[in-house]
């Protein structure tokens, strides 16, 4: 970490709550960077249902406008 890093500064805070908060944060960032906190990724195909609903609503709107 560089000396200017604000996380490092808060790790040395005199406020117990802030120090403990940033200590926890530091651990979680390391955890994430090691890939331990990753979740299942979304694929474009997962949006098909949503796209279908939006299309149906657009068609309904057009029918109401034209009718």
């Amino acid at each position: 970490m560089t000396p200017k890093n604000s996380i490092q500064e808060n790790l040395n805070s005199k406020d117990d709550f802030i120090r403990s908060l940033y200590t926890d944060l530091h651990g979680r960032i390391q955890d994430f960077e090691r890939g331990n906190a990753r979740i299942e990724k979304m694929k474009l195909g997962d949006a098909k249902g949503t796209l279908f609903i939006v299309s149906a609503i657009v068609v309904y709107l057009l029918i109401v406008i034209v009718g």
């Binding site: 200017k4 802030i18 990724k41 979304m42 949503t50 939006v54």
Partner: protein, 474 residues
Amino acid sequence: MTKEQSSISKDVAFGFLPAQKNDRVFGLWDLVLIQVGIGVSCFCLLVGGYTGMMVGAKEAIATILFGNALPVFLIIPITIYFARYGVDTFIAFRSSLGYLGSNIFYFIFMILTIGYMSIALFMAGQALVKIASFLSLPGFFTLKATGAPFFAILLFAFAFLVTFKGPMFIRKFNMIGVPAILLVMLGLISILLFGQGLDKIFSLTPAEPYEDTTRSFITALEINIGLGFSWLPYLGQYSRLVKSEKSAFKAGFLSYGILVNIAAILGALTALVVASLDPTDWMFAIGGTWVGLIGLFLLTLGNLTATIFLMYSQAISFKTVFPKKSWLFALATAIPTVFLLLSSVFYDAFNSFITVISYIMAVFGGIVISDFFFVKKQRISFQDLYDTKGSYYYWRGINPSAITSFIVGTIAYWSLYNPILDKVSGMFLYISAGIPAYFAAGICYYISSKYVFSFKVDREEQRAIAVPVEEKIL
């Protein structure tokens, strides 16, 4: 540290820290239920009420469905960001707006929340005025000009005390308040279906349309677009706690884009029947004396719960952004709400409020989507989101591309529609204003970040293309 202070500290830490695997407790339907519980509120009823005053039932349903589903569809991909990194809105938006820019966005969220709280409280105040009239209380309590502000401020004080007590007390209160608003909806559905009948409702004409039917239709659409975009700052709160990115995406769309529309449609149909947009006028008109009284009581309870939820949400978000400030200071940010409760001016201008929100959130929506998906290409420095002296410092803490895009989005919106004076340009009748402002801001942000104010952090994705990127959506 007292038990209450300890639970507040836990909530602050929970909101500030990125979610870990064991924090991710929500599946698709858990999240849908929670978000619908939050989203189905008096605001949806009121937006529906405005819609039903301008257009007939068929047009109302079309404008509500489209006006909410499309804006939510345009902004909901950002939930992938919240879910992937497990961070809340105001931490996540640092990558596009800058550290100071994201704090400014928090203050806009605060104004939005103050506006929402005052609408909920004033509506509750009006409901209590009607109950006071029924009970033949003295004139001060039964007049809208004196009684509604009095009851609304009294309820604000109660909400402040409950919120000050912390989350344990709020959760107990929510167990009464959320079912109350759902009972109001159920009552409205029953009365509309069995008391009036759909054939009659679909044959009714709106009470206060514009002279031009196209103008009525597009204005009703714009108010609903405002409601759709207004969910943007609330999306991160629970999306970061899901087990998969697709659950955050689908649940966000289903709840805010589709299911909360039930409340708005109910509002529109009731406004058509009663010829008033105010939910407190509906209860006696369609329910009779006793059902009306119960309805008004439940509406008061529902609005009070909504206020407590919003107040707590605002204070916790404040502590997430400024963790060193005290809990009382964070809570005191809700006090300006009282000024909006002194008369009905703000409550009566709800349609202008929601359309102004539409413009602001549409512009921010365009910026954050453009940044995450097209400029950063989903590559975020996790450490820099929290290191406020890191890469997302940009220029004095604000991203100049975000400022430029905000200005361009503002010009696009206000040249099409002036929501304060309710003046429109010819183009507004064809393309509305919120959605064009979203695209204007998004496109401007992309061009600005790539070719005008191009920072190192905006160019880093180009280097990254050479290596496999497993966390991108395919």
